[in-house]
Symmetry: C2
Subunit: 195 residues, 2 copies
DNA sequence: TTTTAACTTGAGCAGTCGCTCAAAATCAAA
DNA sequence: TTTGATTTTGAGCGACTGCTCAAGTTAAAA
């Protein structure tokens, strides 16, 4: 007994996510969003409550997308480390031009929201912790398969991966330096086996 | 034959720098700045031209401050690597509570300005390149003194340092994790000697 | 076909933004 | 002490912000 919603929520969140990832929360205006998702303010606010609400969903969707991407690379690779490596190469080198930003949206969020008790800062921490837990599972597999030594625990490998990956993505957030990317990714995975 | 300026330019830039570093460019309003530096809009605009102008000076001042800090640690350490290590520990562990942000202001700037041809993005790239050149000089000394092998060039060590340091600072931009910091800094310097 | 609850629309509100500029204040030189 | 170039002041401008809500549109249920 009603009217149906005309938009597909998933699609809207995905488009908003791209815009937020590119420009950041503060630099993205509600007018930018209205144009990008082709919705009028009333519809957006009845569906998401606020700009912050839409950003929350966008950030959560981003981590889901990342995990899905990793799953894909893992399932079509012979080894766990091979899959992770393909994922890293894809993010840093292959999707360089078409990605909204070289830098992880979670890291951007974490650095943008300075007030340590703000909802959005807490959300970024929470999602990062979840992602670390997810990586930990993956590294458990790598250890169990004998791809990595057990001198480090799985969570320590996960932390190492996070630091390296974040560092590399930050470093390559510039137009010119694809030439150094490949050897530095080599270095990262070589070092991981030496830990 | 005139009036004298009432403010000390260096001090104003330093205070503005702290605020910009903490909140980012877009989330810092001119009213915030006015209050922080205790100047009326007219004075600020006659001295710095625009919010962007003040930000430029703030960002440049930040890199000067960083270099000065490194100089200090280098001159009061026995080895180049020891000095760098003291610097890293100071930034990540010791000044944790009092620093406006765990994340490097240059990295924050680089990630905040998405439009690849904007003046502020170009400035962040420029200052990062300068800083890499500065680090390269330092690593040249480390190699010459025999503290590091010459399997990598000085600039390659500098890049490695940047990636690790940026990664660590990003990772430790949270309230609770000082406990992991020390071993991970250990790891960073251990790995550098193994390259 | 009529009813009616759900959804969409967009003009526009109240507040904030970066910034300006005429007037007041200041102080070295005359 | 007077002069006059220079700096400081702050009210306030026009643009933009996140967001609201009364009016209009839609389509399933009656």
């Amino acid at each position: 007994m009603a009217n149906k919603v005309k938009f597909e929520r998933e699609n809207v969140v995905r488009v908003a996510s791209q815009l937020f990832w590119q420009k950041g929360f503060h630099a993205t205006s509600t007018r930018d969003l209205q144009e990008a998702v082709n919705m009028r303010p009333g519809s957006i606010y009845s569906a998401f409550g606020s700009k912050e609400g839409l950003y929350c969903e966008s950030l959560k969707d981003y981590t889901v997308q990342m995990k899905t991407q990793i799953e894909g690379f893992l399932s079509s690779a012979d080894t766990v480390l091979g899959g992770l490596r393909a994922f890293v190469e894809n993010v840093i080198i292959k999707t360089k031009g078409c990605s909204p930003s070289a830098i992880c949206m979670l890291v951007k969020a974490n650095s943008e929201f300075a007030e340590k008790d703000s909802k959005l800062y807490e959300l970024s921490l929470d999602l990062m912790a979840q992602f670390e837990a997810y990586l930990t599972q993956i590294f458990e597999q790598a250890i169990n398969k004998g791809e990595l030594s057990n001198t480090l625990t799985a969570v320590e490998y996960a932390r190492f991966f996070q630091v390296q990956f974040t560092g590399l993505r930050g470093y390559f957030n510039r137009p010119d330096v694809e030439q150094f990317a490949e050897p530095m990714i080599n270095q990262m995975f070589m070092l991981m086996r030496k830990l």
